[in-house]
Symmetry: D2
Subunit: 393 residues, 4 copies
C-alpha cells in the first residue's frame, strides 16, 4: 500500500495503523510542492521510524510550477472568479507521484488522509482512477472514522517520534501557488479573519513604500522579472515574496464544494494573483477580441473541471490545447505596482501587440476610416430594429 | 430634429450649425444621469441662447439608478472581467429620453456628438433604431467631419455664450455609475495614469483610517447602508463618496471596442465596484451552485451585449428574466472594509443563506454523512476511468 | 411508505415484500402519463389485492402534457441532439404525485423500482429530495438486490393475482411523449433494431401515401392541428397517431448516462419529434438571431439538467424563465409533410414573422440598402485583419 | 486586379467591364470545388476571350475536401442545427486561391460577384483581409449597382462568347459538400419547394430498395466505405451519389444571415449529412461525456464563426485545435441504412469504444457496482435539497 505522507501527526500515525489494520506493507510518499516546513530527509526518516517499509520523498517544485501552476496561469484560473485553485492543482501532481510509487513498488492500494466532505478526496481518487484505473483507494479518516484523538492516543501508546502537542486551530494547506485556511472560528461566516490566519502575506493596511515590478512573458510563460531571467518556479517564489510583502493576494470567500455544500475559505496567493493579473492584461493587449471572449468560457470550464477533481480527463486535455493555441502571441512586458494589498498594472508593451496607436488615437495620425461606421451600425442593429418593428405592429 | 445636448462647447455649437446645415428646427435634450457639473436650468437656458427652438432637460438620476445601474449590479456586469459598463449603460437611458422628445415634438432625426470610432455611436443609433425604427440619426463629428476647431471658430463668429477656453487634455464621460477617461498621453499604453486624471477617487496610497460599511440587500437590491434605508441612487452615491474617499474603484485597461480596435481606458467606479463586490459575495452565500455557474455565462453575455450597444434587444430582455429569477433569495447583509483602494468583504449573514454550518463544520454538530462520498467519487470519476482504460489498451 | 406502482410484476410483488421487510404500511401510487395498458381501476384493485393499505391512481396526462412536455417542446429539448427526454420528463411528474401522497398519508419513505445503474433512480431521488427534503428513499432492486426471479417466486408462493408468464425481452418505458426500449440483443451495439422493438411507429420503409398537417402555435404552445383547436395533450396524441403511422420518430443511439456509463437506447417519439421540428422552424421565422443563438446554449443546458435528474432545481427554474420570454412571438402556422419516417416542414406563416420579404427579396421591392454592407464588412473583419498584420510582422 | 471567375454570364462580362471602368488588367481565377459543369479549360479559354490578361484555373477539389469539408465534418457543423455550411466553407478556399493569384501577379485589388445583402461578400472580403490585409476589394454588383440586364446588354454589344439565354429562376451555389438554392418563388416562405429545385438528390418519396453502407473512420477521418479505402473527397462523392440516390440530405429553412435579415434557403447535402450523422454517432461511442458536452458548445461557435465569414481568424484556429484533440479516438465503423430520405445508423463498432458491455448490461457479466449509486445520488442532489429546505423556511 502507498500512503500520501505529509510528515504530520495524522499520516505518521496512519502508517502503523493501516499496516496493522490491513496487514499491508506501507510505502510512504511525500511530495514537496513548495509547502515549506521540514526538509525531505527529516520527513523520510520519520516515515521509516513510524513503520514504513519504504519512504519516497520527491522535490516536485519545478514540476509543479511548470506543469500545474503554469497551465492555471495561462487559463487565468479563478474558480468563482476569485480562487486560484491552490489545493486543486497540487492534488494531481501528488497523485502522479503516488501512482508512480505504487507501480514501482507493486502496490494495489493508495491511502490518503482526506475527510469525506471535502474536495480533495475527489481529486485524489478520481485522479488515481484516471492514471491507474485498477488501484484501489482508502481514506482512513473517512472510511474508518479515524480521528485526531485516536491518532494521538495511538502515537502515545507506541511512543512514536511525533510531537502531538502542536495543534493549529485551522485546517491549512499550502504550496508555492498559495495557502488555504479553513475551519475554526471562520466557520461563522460573519466573523472576519484575523491577522493570525495569514502567513504568506503582510498586513496590507500597514504603511510601507510601493514596489514596482516588470514581468516579462514569452508566449504566456513568465520568463523574466525586472529583466532578470527566471524559471516559472522562481517567478512565483519571487512574486510570493514581493507581492506578499505588500499584502497582495488575500481572499475570503464562501465557495461551492463539489460535494454539494458551501464552505468558507480564506486564501493567500500573492504570487499567483499578481501573475494572473499581469497575464490577463497582457492578453488584453495581444489576444484578438472574439478569441478573448470565447477564452473566458473555456477558462470558466477549466476552473470548474480542475476544482471538481477532473485534472486528468479528456475534456481537460482538450481545453488545454485550446488555451495553448491562445498563448502564441502573449509576449511582452507588464509593469505593475505592488502596494497596500493591490497589484495594479500601470503599463504594457509588446512587439506583438494588437493595440494600434494609429487606429486608436484621436490625435494626428488617425488612420481609422470613420465613414465605415455608419454601414456597420445599420447592419449591426438591423435584427433589433426588425424585431422592434414587429413589436409595434 | 432632436439633439443630444450636454451643455458643452461641441453640442452647443452643433445646435446652430445643424439648424443652418439642414434647415431643421433643433430641440436640445439634456439628461442628468448624475454627471454633476452645471444645473439643468443653466444648461436649458444656454441651449435656447444657442438657437434651439426648445430645450428639454430631464433629471433621470433615479431612473438611471433603478432601471440601468441596478440590472448591471444584479448581472455583476464587468466587461472583460473589469469594466462596469459606465458609459455603456448611460447611453440607453439618454436614448429613451431622446426618442420620447422626438415623438413628442414630431422630430424625424436624432443627432448626437459621437465620433465614428467609438462604441457610443453604436449604442445611440442601435438604441434609437430599436425604440423608434423610423427615426434617422446624424452624427456631425462623424458624418460631416465636424471638429473642435471648427466649433470654436463658429462660436466666436456668432458670439455664442460659451467658454471656449476650457480644454481638458482627456476625453471624459461621467455619471453616477462611474467615470471614464481616455486619450491624451494615455494613448501610449506604457504610460501610467497620473493622479490628475482622477476625480471620483482619492489616492489609495495615502494613509488614512479604514471605513467599515454594512450593505443590506433585499432580493438583489441594495436597500440599506449601515442600517439606514436608501434608494438605489442613494446607495450608489453614498458608496461613491465613501469608497471613493478610500481610493477604491480605479481601473486601467486595454479594452476591445465593438468597432474592431483596442483602446486604452481609465475608469473610476467606486460605488459600482463596491456594490458589485458585495453583491457577488452575497450571491456566493445564497445562490445554488449550478445556478451560480450558469449565471456566469449569462453575465458574460449580458456584459458583451450591453457593451456592444444592444441594451434594447430581445436577447437582453431574455437574459434579464433569467437574472431576475436568480435574485429572489439574494437578501442579507455584507460587511465590507473600504481602505487603501480595496473593498474587502469580511462578513456575510442572511436569513436565506445556503451556507449550512452543520453541514460545513468539522467540529461537533457535523451532520454531513461522509460515507456517501465514496459512491459519489466512484461514479463521478467513472467516465475518466473508462477513458483511461481505453487509452491503456 | 409510499411506493411508485406500475401495476406490473415487480412493483406488485414489492408491495408485500417491502411491507414484510420493513414493517411499514404501503400506499401504492400509480400515475397515468399516457403509457397506455390497463385502466387505472384495474391497477388500483391489484395494488390492494397485493397488500397495499391504500392505492392512489392519478390521471396525470394533461398535467404531464402541459407542465412537462410543453416546456420540453419550448426548449426543443434533445439530449445529445437526439433524445427528446421521454423518461426524463415523466419522472418529475410521478415524483410530484408520490410526494403529495406521502404528505397526505404521512409517509416517511418513498420506494421505487429502479435499478442502481440507470438515470431514473437519480431522477426519482433527487426530485423527491427537492420537493420533500425529509423523505427517505429506498429502491429494493438496488438496495436489497431484489431480482425478477425472486419476485416470481415470491408471487407464486403467495398466489398473488399477477401473470408472471409475460416477459418482454426488453426493458420498456413509455408515456405520451414517447417510448424507450433497451437491453436484450440491443446491448450489442452492432446489432440493428428489429421491427419487433417498435410499437408507437409503423415501418417507415413501407409504401404509403404522405400526410400533410398544419400545426398552429400561439406563443410557443401548439393550439390547433389542421385548424382544429387542441389541448397540448391532444396535439401530442394526434401527432403520435399521424406521425407514428408514417414511421416518424425512431431513434437509435448510444447515450451518456449520468452514472458514468454509455448505454444503447432505442426510442420512438413521433409526436414529440414532429412537434419539436415544427416548433424549431417557427422559431427560425419569429425569434431574433442573437436570442436564437443564445437559446441554443440554454437548450443544451436545459436538456442536460433534466436528463441528469435536476428538474426541480434553481437552475432549471431560471432557464425556464429565459425560455418563456423567448416564446412570446412564437406564433403562426407550420405546414409539414409526414411521410416515410420523415417530418419535413414545407411552409411557415406568421403574423409576427421577422422574415421580411422586402428585405430578403432579390426582385422588385427590395428595400435593403446594399451600400451599408461595405462599412459593415470592414469593421466586422477589422480584428482579424489587425491580427493578420501582426502575424506577418 | 484579380477577379473571382465562375465562367458564367455575370463574371464573364465583368472582366471587360471592370477593365474598362478601372483601367486595370484583369486576371480571372476559377476554382473547382466540385461544382461540376464545364471543364476548367473551357472556362479558362472563355476568360481570355472575354478580355482577361491571364486566367488561372485550379482543381481545388481535394484541397477543399481535406482542409475545409473535413474540419466541418469533425465539427459536426450545422448552422442553426441544420445547415452544413455548404457555401460558407467554399468561400475560404476560393479566397486562398484569389490571394495567391493576387500575390503572384502583383494585383492590388480583388473583385467578386456577390451582392450587398448576402453572407458571401463578407466571407470573401473578411477572408481576403485576413490573408492579405493590404488587398482592396470591389464588388461590382454591390458597389456599382451592376445588374444582370446591364451584363446581357454589355455582352450583346461586344459579341462576347457567352450564352445569355440560360436563366435559372433560382440563385444557385454548389460544390462537393452540397448545393444551395434561393430566391424565386421560394421567397414566399409558405410555398413548398418543388422537385425542380433539386439536383443532387432523387425524390425521397419514390419507392426504391434501401442501400446499406459501412463507413470507416480513423481519428475522425472517413477512410473507407464498405471496406474500400477512399480519400476524403471520394468519401463525400460516393455518399453524394448513394445517399443522393435515396433522397437523403434535403433541407428547407429560414436562416439568420450575418447582415441582419432572415432568408429562406433550400439545400441539398446528401454526402455531408450522411457523413455528419455517422460521425456524430461514432463520437457518441468513443468520446467521453464531459468532452462531448463541451464539444457541442465549441461546435455551435465554430458553425457561427464560419457562417459569419471568420474562417481565417484566431478564434477559428483555436477551436480547431480543440476539435483536433477530440478526434484522436474517433475510429471505427458505422453501419447506416440510406433509404427514403433517411440516413439511419443501425450499428457501430470500434476498437476504442467507451461503451462497455460489462458495465452496461443488465444480464450476466454485469460489473457495475450498484451500491455506489446511493452515495452519488445523495451528493448530486444535495445542492437542490439544501435550496429546497431554504425555500420551505
Amino acid at each position: 500500500m502507498v500512503l500520501a505522507y505529509s510528515g504530520g501527526l495524522d499520516t505518521s500515525v496512519a502508517i502503523g495503523w493501516i499496516a496493522e489494520e490491513t496487514g499491508a506493507e506501507v510505502v510512504a510518499v511525500a511530495v514537496d510542492v513548495g509547502q515549506g516546513g521540514e526538509d525531505l530527509d527529516t520527513i523520510r526518516k520519520r516515515a521509516i521510524d513510524c513503520g514504513a517499509v519504504e519512504a519516497v520523498v520527491a522535490d516536485a517544485r519545478d514540476e509543479f510550477a511548470t506543469e500545474y501552476c503554469l497551465p492555471a496561469l495561462q487559463a487565468n484560473a479563478l474558480y468563482m472568479d476569485r480562487y486560484p485553485l491552490v489545493s486543486a492543482i497540487s492534488r494531481p501532481v501528488i497523485v502522479k507521484h503516488l501512482v508512480e510509487a505504487a507501480k514501482y513498488h507493486g502496490a494495489t492500494t493508495v491511502s490518503h488522509g482526506c475527510t469525506g466532505k471535502g474536495n480533495d478526496q475527489v481529486r485524489f481518487e478520481v485522479g488515481i482512477g484516471a492514471l491507474a484505473p485498477d488501484l484501489k483507494c482508502v481514506a482512513p479518516v473517512r472510511d474508518f472514522a479515524w480521528t485526531r484523538e485516536k491518532a494521538i492516543s495511538w502515537a502515545n501508546d507506541r511512543n512514536l517520534p511525533i510531537d502531538v502537542s502542536k495543534k493549529s486551530p485551522y485546517s491549512i494547506d499550502q504550496n508555492v501557488w498559495g495557502r488555504a485556511v479553513e475551519t475554526g472560528f471562520l466557520e461563522d461566516i460573519w466573523n472576519a479573519p484575523i491577522e493570525d490566519v495569514y502567513d504568506y502575506t503582510a498586513n496590507p493596511a500597514e504603511p510601507r513604500d510601493a514596489d514596482e515590478v516588470v514581468i516579462t512573458f514569452d508566449k504566456g510563460v513568465p520568463v523574466a522579472i525586472d529583466g532578470e531571467t527566471v524559471t516559472v518556479l522562481q517567478a512565483i517564489q519571487e512574486l510570493n515574496r514581493r507581492a506578499g510583502a505588500q499584502g497582495v493576494g488575500r481572499l475570503d470567500i464562501v465557495e461551492d464544494r463539489l460535494v454539494g455544500i458551501k464552505s468558507r475559505e480564506v486564501y493567500e496567493a500573492p504570487g499567483a494573483l499578481a501573475l494572473i493579473t499581469a497575464h490577463q492584461e497582457l492578453e488584453n493587449v495581444t489576444v484578438e477580441r472574439d478569441l478573448a471572449r470565447f477564452k473566458r468560457t473555456v477558462e470558466q470550464r477549466w476552473g470548474e473541471l480542475v476544482y471538481d477533481g477532473l485534472w486528468f480527463s479528456p475534456l481537460k486535455d482538450a481545453l488545454d490545447t485550446f488555451i495553448a493555441e491562445t498563448q502564441q502571441y502573449v509576449s511582452g512586458d507588464i509593469r505593475m505596482t505592488l502596494h497596500g494589498g493591490r497589484a495594479v498594472v500601470s503599463g504594457r508593451r509588446s512587439d506583438v501587440s494588437l493595440y494600434d496607436f494609429n487606429l486608436a488615437t484621436y490625435d494626428e495620425g488617425d488612420e481609422f476610416d470613420q465613414s465605415l461606421a455608419k454601414g456597420f451600425i445599420q447592419l449591426w442593429g438591423l435584427p433589433s430594429k426588425i424585431a422592434a418593428r414587429r413589436a409595434q405592429r
